[in-house]
């Protein structure tokens, strides 16, 4: 089990401490998960609401925010503040859906814009409906007129993402309490032994006056060491410890938790996902569609880096790759064995699982790292605990109804066959 480091250091210290300090530490530890959980619930309660503006906001963040600001600040493309007053809505819709067509049609404003932004094409969004685009601009207008609340919301975000690591589990608490109890018992026994020994020392002066304290201590220690039962007990304990270490080691064969290899291009997720808040979907386009989330192809990088930071030596590597038509060979971080089938779309699109659940706080990673163990135990554990995302999904209606008639508990993945072999192995 994964024990966070700072808590371990508390363990080390309390052995030396008095009972009062032990009690204090215990109290702190018992309360931490409660605090952490409280934080979780506040973070989860944040996104809610409806209407055009809210829809526009999510659409904007997923599709537009990489290149456009809601203010008049120029990012990759122009700031969108006042865009609705610069052009009418039908033009904007046409532009968003297929900007190339508008430029090709010879629209003077479009051509001017195109030339102004050094002929960088805007990605076309043929999938966005008219309503979607209207919502986006509704959000842009609202955000541009009232920038204060957005800033506040943005400020709040890092605090929420900080709580990604879930609180200590129940099992952990039980172990801690048990350890404390054992420690207290050991402490008691030690005190008894010390008092007995000091009594023996005191009493011994009368019975055997000739031997001094050190001689007597060494004889009794010698006797102690010669005692066969104690010796065999020690050997047993040692052997068992070695065995446990071996088994633990064997279980960790192939587990690459914490694996963070050097990549051919020092791409920073911290910068892209953290600071610029580019949605994971923007580059990992497969995540809602299929099995693989997709490592982005070089042409996706070029959407932005066709304009931004072209001179950086790292980005030059992408240019070289495109010129030579040689794909970039990234080092694969998350290696699931071939015998296990995992599908991103099932988890992200259908299950509504956040990327961070498995990949950790990518927004804080300079170099991408494997945060979860990716063992079968880890999968199963989550399938046991996770509720099925049945909301607005007709596929589950019958199952929810049946489950509701049989049980009061929430419908977990395990309840609908999430632990069966052929769900992942075939």
């Amino acid at each position: 089990m994964y024990i966070p480091f700072p808590k371990n250091s508390k363990f080390c210290s309390f052995i030396k401490c008095s009972n009062r300090i032990v009690a204090l530490v215990l109290a702190i530890m018992l309360s931490t998960p409660v605090l952490l959980r409280a934080q979780d619930s506040t973070a989860a309660a944040a996104p809610a609401g409806g209407g055009d503006v809210a829809k526009g906001e999510s659409l904007f963040k997923n599709n537009c925010a990489q290149c456009h600001a809601v203010t008049d600040e120029r990012v990759v493309g122009p700031g969108l503040k006042g865009a609705t007053s610069r052009q009418d809505m039908p033009w904007l819709i046409k532009w968003v859906r297929n900007s190339q067509a508008v430029i090709a049609s010879g629209d003077p404003y479009a051509v001017k814009l195109y030339n102004e932004y050094s002929k960088a094409q805007m990605t076309s969004f043929p999938n966005l409906s008219e309503d979607d685009i209207k919502s986006i601009f509704a959000y842009v207008d609202q955000a541009a007129t009232a920038p204060a609340p957005t800033a506040a919301a943005a400020g709040g975000a890092p605090a929420a993402t900080g709580a990604a690591d879930s609180g200590p589990s129940d099992l952990f608490m039980i172990v801690v309490v048990a350890l404390v109890v054992v420690m207290l018992l050991v402490l008691g026994v030690l005190l008894v032994i010390v008092s007995l020994l000091s009594k023996a020392v005191a009493g011994g002066t009368e019975a055997a006056p000739k031997a001094d304290f050190m001689t007597r201590l060494s004889t009794s220690l010698k006797n102690f060491a010669m005692d066969s039962s104690i010796r065999s007990a020690t050997i047993w304990v040692f052997a068992l410890l070695v065995l446990k270490a071996t088994i633990d080691g064997a279980f960790n064969v192939g587990v690459q938790q914490g694996y963070a290899p050097k990549q051919p291009i020092s791409f920073s997720h911290k910068l892209h996902a953290g600071e610029y808040k580019i949605d994971c979907n923007y580059c990992h386009t497969g995540v809602n569609r299929g099995k693989s989330a997709h490592i982005p192809s070089a042409n996706i990088c070029m959407n932005c880096h066709g304009v931004i930071k072209k001179e950086s030596p790292e980005i030059q590597k992408i240019y070289t790759s495109i010129e030579k038509n040689q794909p970039i060979e990234w080092v694969r971080v998350h290696n699931l064995p071939d015998l296990a089938y995992f599908n991103h779309a099932q988890h992200v699109n259908v299950g509504g699982v956040e990327c961070e659940n498995c990949h950790g706080d990518v927004a804080q990673m300079e170099v991408i790292q494997q945060r979860s163990s990716l063992t079968m135990g880890w999968c199963i554990d989550c399938h046991r605990k996770t509720e099925v995302n049945t909301k607005d999904n007709q596929y589950y209606d019958k199952l929810v109804q049946l489950h509701g008639s049989e049980s009061k508990e929430a419908l977990k993945v395990a309840d609908i066959g999430g632990l069966e072999c052929s769900k992942c192995h075939y």
Binding site: G249, A250, N252, V253, G254, Q256, Y259, P261, T285, G286, N288, R289, G290, K291, S292, H294, I295, P296, S297, A298, N299, I300, S321, I322, N325, Q326, P327, I328, E329, W330, V331, R332, N335, D338, L339, Y341, N343, A345, Q346, N349, V350, D392, N393, Q394, Y395, D397, K398, L399, L402, H403, I416, G417, E420, C421, S422, K423, H425, Y426
Partner: protein, 1030 residues
């Protein structure tokens, strides 16, 4: 109920009580090879207890070494991702299979730009389903033994520019001198390609295009020319026929367009148990020499010697003409069983009758046309106005070509897809003469028997890499598009011809403008670009051609044809005759270098990896040979030596040998497999004849074991395995022929399903199940290869098939039923001369009370909440308890590692061949059990699609590949929990009718049901037959 008492036998080994058969029947697994055969530690059999520690020690060391450093894996994205291509998501493209006149409109499944599966295109109206050979053609794409680029003599490094220049120069000088140029090909269905050849001919006017087919139908074309003045292949419609008489035409297996005919024929064989269900069926009579797939599905079958076949036709004509008032013809009368009956019923079914004949003799075909004319088949079951173009070969022209080459009259030969040195009876003569031809260019993909004699081999790409089109039938066109970029440095034959004709050589552009001029004008609508994209998407285009089928007047010279038949065929023939036939899997041998096809068991003999001399039991006894004896079959000095296989139903005094084997320069999988029988075929009046006449058969003294799959895993001797009835009984009682087992208990006898130790399963969500209609399963085996392609099933080779270790998850059991009375114990011991045959597809039955699950010590096989019996390979430790406990014998054990293993040098042993692997299915390693998963990966994919769209799964989402491949839709798959699904509706009708579970008495409650086979036989006659035996 009487039919359930029928006695079935799997093969003659069983009746003979062969030593090997008895031994294998008693032991669960076939005995392993002796230790001297396999000495290695990791051989799958000879591991000793002591080796355990060695392996354990090695394992521990390997694990600790592996733990030190995990291998670095790379993730390599596209540089520029193609639009519409998403890694791990498959794309489907419509295309066309047209090889040597065999045609199928197909859909190709591609993953990351490589084709991994072929299915039939349901939009096509000119073809239905795809055959085993079309499924296997996918593997041909990844054949490692194709040429990598152009080859000039022995030079394989030569550049296209060089060869183009040289060939162009030579062609020009030949044309200047007026030298003859010949293009030799099998049937070409592509109108654009024909136009390219016309353009080439326009540039070089001395060019002639010679078309021939290895298994020719030239006489059928000629027969129609003589009868109606049209040299065409009429379109047959079996679905409109109530009564069909087949004379040596294996239209369900190999004759012209078997999948389409199967699908039409199946429509007439569907019956329903519901009150308003269909209760009548067509009837099929078959007169033939060999035991063909069609013959084994016939209601009445008569074995006739090859030399009598013509007289079957004339006698049938005379009998029909006597009733319907046609002129009679003078030919010896032939009296064989069922002929009178067939004639009477043909007359009764006038207007809904069809007579087809596969004899390649124009006179015979003229008489057949006369019969069909009398019966009013033209305009109903035969459409001669909208012909098909599947066979266009001209035997006479090809013979002329051989003579020309021998006479040194040909200056240049261009070979396009043909291999006459191998598959023409005069191949040897050609092989001698060809090197003398000044310029010889082959477009074949490898240096095969013919191409290796050529000066230039300019390999054309596989059809899945190329643009093409096809016109299979008048008014039907289809397009083929590349589904993968060129694997090797190849170029389309059409481009080469265009280049040498000094025209723009882009065949795609050429085809597009050809379509605009010639096909778009036949009913294309809208903008041409949009039309083109739509046809490319659909794969097919039907023109606005009016589909009128007239009844043309028969103008043939019947008397002359009759006289010719009477002269050539004999009513009573005593000698031993040779019958050459086409094998359902390998076909004419053009694509023999395909391990899937080599291991595909021939549907009737169930033998693979060889061709054999088929003999009936009687003839074999007379000749004093037994199965496995290698015999020399000698026809006028030309001879081949093949092992004997005893084939019940084969005409007495006939020896049957399949074409398509004995390749010498095809590749590892085909070279030396079987013997080439083409040289024994003859020409009769210029037409290719596969029945040359009398041969002598002599023992060579050698024996060769036959790799036959039938007796390996089949279950039988239990009444509840096969259940069948006859139509009259079925009409009275839909449950006729059903066996309902009763178990006696203290409370009286109860249904077997009422007694159980188990609590059963509760399927809340889905309950996947399958229904297999034994009445429409003709045993063609398309599903077997389809399953092999989808589920990464390894090829094990001849020796391992003999060892009873073939890996097919889906097998088709073929049973012969004895016609002896059940009480007649002696009669039951005699192999029937002409047995009834039943085919039964057999795969994991996904039992609810699965015997395999309870015995697995490591829980590697468990039950899912959706009715599937799951198999976790990584958990399996290979005890094989499950296989031992499986009542259906459908579990397969990986005795070896079949990939990257030089002992199994098939497609899994090279990088190119491995490209065919389906990435969604694990490649199993040595030591684990595997079996049908009911395509669980497709089920999971379908569920995910539905979930992503926030809806329930429907029939349209889910499929198993055996079901989708079946040309006759005999396999219905779906969710039995969904009341709207096809399977639920079918079961609701048939539960109290034809549906039965195999081995119902052991109450394992399979998810798979079978529907009883109904034969359209007369009841009275059955009783008579029984009396005869008694």
């Amino acid at each position: 109920m009487e039919n359930t008492n029928k006695r079935y036998w799997r093969g003659l080994e069983e009746l003979r009580n062969d030593e090997k058969f008895v031994k294998n029947a008693a032991s669960e697994f076939a005995e392993g090879p002796t230790e001297s055969q396999y000495e290695s530690l990791v051989d799958g059999v000879g591991t000793h207890r002591r080796d355990f520690l060695k392996v354990l020690g090695f394992g521990m060391a390997a694990v600790s070494l592996a733990a030190c450093e995990a291998p670095v894996k790379k993730a390599i994205p596209y540089v520029n991702k193609p639009e519409g291509e998403f890694p791990t998501i498959s794309n489907w493209y419509a295309s066309t299979y047209s090889e040597g006149g065999d045609y199928a409109s197909i859909l190709v499944k591609t993953r990351e730009g490589r084709p991994i599966k072929i299915e039939g295109n349901s939009l096509s109206k000119a073809s239905c389903g795809v055959s085993a050979r079309v499924h296997a053609s996918l593997l041909g794409l990844y054949d490692n033994e194709k040429l990598r680029g152009p080859k000039k003599g022995e030079d394989t490094k030569v550049a296209w520019e060089t060869v183009d220049k040289e060939i162009l120069d030579q062609l020009k000088s030949i044309a200047a001198k007026g030298g003859a140029i010949r293009i030799v090909s099998p049937t070409i269905l592509s109108p654009s390609t024909k136009s390219v050849i016309a353009d080439f001919t326009a540039k070089y006017p001395t060019t002639k295009h010679v078309v021939y087919d290895a298994n020719s139908a030239a006489a059928l074309l000629k027969g129609n020319e003589l009868s109606f003045g049209k040299s065409v292949l009429p379109a047959y419609d079996f679905s409109k026929a109530k009564l069909i008489v087949g004379i040596d035409a294996d239209f369900l297996g190999t004759w012209i367009a078997p999948e389409t005919y199967s699908s039409q024929f199946a429509q007439t064989r569907i019956v329903g148990s519901a009150k308003d269900g269909k209760k009548d069926m067509s009837r099929l009579y078959q007169f033939e020499s060999i035991m063909s797939l069609t013959g084994s599905n016939a209601d009445y079958r008569t074995s006739v010697k090859p030399s009598q076949l013509g007289l079957v036709v004339t006698s049938l004509y005379n009998k029909v003409a006597a009733k319907l008032g046609g002129q009679s013809i003078t030919a010896p009368a032939l009296d064989v069983t069922n002929l009178d009956k067939a004639a009477n019923e043909l007359v009764k079914a006038k207007g809904q009758a069809l007579v087809v004949c596969g004899v390649n003799d124009p006179s015979v075909q003229v008489v057949v046309n006369a019969i069909n004319g009398l019966l009013g088949s033209y305009g109903t079951t035969i459409d001669i106005d909208n012909p098909v173009y599947f066979r266009q070969g001209d035997d006479i022209a090809m013979n002329g070509f051989v003579d020309e080459v021998k006479g040194g009259k040909v200056a240049a030969v261009i070979l396009y897809g043909a291999n006459p040195v191998y598959d023409h009876p005069r191949g040897a003569e050609l092989a001698e003469a060809l090197p003398k031809v000044g310029l010889s260019v082959s477009f074949n993909d490898r240096a095969d028997e013919t191409s290796s004699l050529f000066k230039y081999i300019l390999p054309a790409p596989h059809y899945l890499e190329a643009w093409n089109d096809a016109e299979p039938k008048a008014g039907f066109y289809s397009l083929a598009q590349p589904t993968i970029s060129l694997i090797f440095n190849t170029r389309q034959a059409q481009s080469s011809l265009l280049k040498w004709a000094e025209l723009p050589s882009d065949f795609h552009e050429y085809m597009k403008s050809f379509w605009r001029k010639n096909i778009y004008t036949q009913g294309g609508t809208g903008d041409y670009e949009k039309f083109w994209v739509k046809v490319l998407h659909d794969g097919v285009f039907t023109t606005n051609r009016a589909a009128v089928a007239s009844a043309p007047a028969f103008t043939g010279n019947l008397a002359a044809a009759g006289a010719s038949v009477g002269k050539k065929y004999k009513a009573s023939a005593t000698g031993l005759e040779l019958a050459i036939f086409e094998n359902v899997g390998i076909g004419n041998g053009a694509v023999a270098n395909n391990p899937w096809l080599q291991e595909f068991p021939e549907p009737v003999t169930k033998a693979c990896w060889d061709n054999h001399a088929g003999l009936s039991q009687k003839t074999a006894t007379e000749l004093g040979v037994v199965q496995g004896d290698v015999v020399k079959v000698d026809y006028k000095g030309k001879s081949i030596s093949v092992p004997v296989i005893i084939q019940p139903g084969l005409a007495a005094g006939t020896v049957a040998i399949a074409i398509g084997f004995g390749r010498e320069k095809a590749g590892k999988s085909a070279n030396g497999v079987g013997k080439n029988v083409y040289p024994l075929a003859v020409f009769s009046e210029g037409f290719l004849s596969f029945s040359p006449g009398e041969v002598t058969v002599s023992k060579t003294g050698e024996t060769r074991e036959i790799a036959q799959t039938q007796t390996h895993n089949t279950v039988m001797n239990r009444k509840s395995v096969l259940q069948e009835t006859v139509l009259a009984h079925f009409q009275q009682d839909p449950m006729a022929g059903r066996f309902v087992p009763k178990i006696p208990t203290s409370e009286g006898s109860v249904d077997a399903t009422d007694l159980s130790l188990w609590n059963g399963h509760n399927y809340k969500n889905h309950s996947w199940g399958m229904v297999i209609d034994l009445n429409t399963c003709f045993g063609c085996g398309s599903c077997v290869v389809s399953c092999q392609a989808e589920n990464n099933i390894p090829v094990v080779g001849r020796q391992e098939v003999i060892n009873a270790r073939e890996m097919h998850w889906l097998r088709i059991d073929r049973y012969y039923s004895s016609d002896a009375d059940v009480e007649d114990l002696r009669g039951l011991e005699i192999a029937s001369e002409n047995p009834e045959v039943t085919f039964q597809p057999m795969m994991c039955q996904h039992c609810n009370n699965a015997p395999c699950e309870t015995v697995c010590p490591v829980l590697a096989t468990t039950h899912s909440s959706e009715g599937l019996n799951q198999m976790a390979y990584n958990r399996c430790v290979g005890t094989r308890y499950c296989a031992n406990n499986c009542p259906y014998k459908v579990r397969r054990f990986n005795w070896f590692k079949y990939f990257d293993n030089d002992n199994f040098d098939y497609n899994f042993n090279n990088d190119l061949g491995k490209m065919v692997i389906n990435p969604d299915v694990t490649v199993r390693s040595r030591g684990v059990i595997e079996k049908c998963s009911m395509c669980v990966h497709l089920i999971q994919e379908a569920k995910l699609t539905a979930k992503k769209e926030r809806r329930r799964v429907t029939d349209a989402d889910v499929a198993v590949v055996c079901g989708t491949s079946c040309p006759t839709n005999a396999i219905t798959f779906g969710d039995m929990n969904d009341p709207e699904s096809k399977i639920s509706k079918l079961l609701a009708e048939e539960r109290e009718g034809r549906a039965f579970h195999m081995l119902e008495e052991i109450n394992v409650r399979p998810q798979i049901s079978y529907l009883t086979k109904v034969r359209n036989k007369d009841v009275a006659e059955k009783v008579e037959a029984k009396k005869e035996h008694a």
